[in-house]
Symmetry: C2
Subunit: 115 residues, 2 copies
């Protein structure tokens, strides 16, 4: 278990969840993966604005937390596919709820309803 998560566990369960999905881009990545398996380059494009280094690290953390499965194809050019594990899939309702809550909050605090 990652150090941050371990510390969170000593506080309270909600903090565990935050420590796992709280990294920047992390839930956005999960959201994309909820739609199906993606290659590294696809994620980089779909997420948008994230650098290789950061995307890689977020994916590795998600992997080590057991939410994401990483499959490497030994071929040239390299091909790596990312998909959600069952545990990752279990985030679906949470992601949907947070997406909805975020839209709601934004619309109430900006006055404009996003598409």
């Amino acid at each position: 278990m990652r150090a941050a998560t371990e510390h969170a566990a000593s506080v309270c369960p909600v903090e565990v969840t935050v420590s796992i999905v709280g990294g920047s881009w992390k839930l956005t990545i999960v959201q994309k993966l909820l739609a199906g398996t993606r290659r590294f380059g696809e994620l980089r494009r779909d997420v948008g604005g994230v650098t290789d280094r950061v995307l890689t690290r977020q994916l590795r953390e998600l992997e080590s937390d057991g939410l994401v499965h990483r499959e490497v194809f030994a071929q040239v050019p390299p091909r790596v596919e990312y998909s959600l594990t069952a545990e990752g899939e279990s985030l679906r309702p949470l992601v949907e709820m947070m997406d909805e809550w975020g839209r709601q909050w934004t619309s109430e605090h900006v006055g404009g309803v996003p598409a």
Copy 2:
């Protein structure tokens, strides 16, 4: 709107939610407030392990995000009460879901089911 939230808004709605509830202790605080109004000292005790400075800042951020209401009583000794706004209350299902997900994840990754 806070800078972090503003940046998150440019990414995707889920990131907005993360930026609002993602600070350490923040959801734990909300969880306590979901049970009812609390004074500063009560929160400090209930949350446990948090310093004055950090607790204060988290509360101020929650306040500026419109989730928490801060009421100061002009008296000696000072008395300040914190409570959730309607928007804060709207986090209840999310907090419950994250609490449950965190318990589940922890039990599967540690082998021991927490109380």
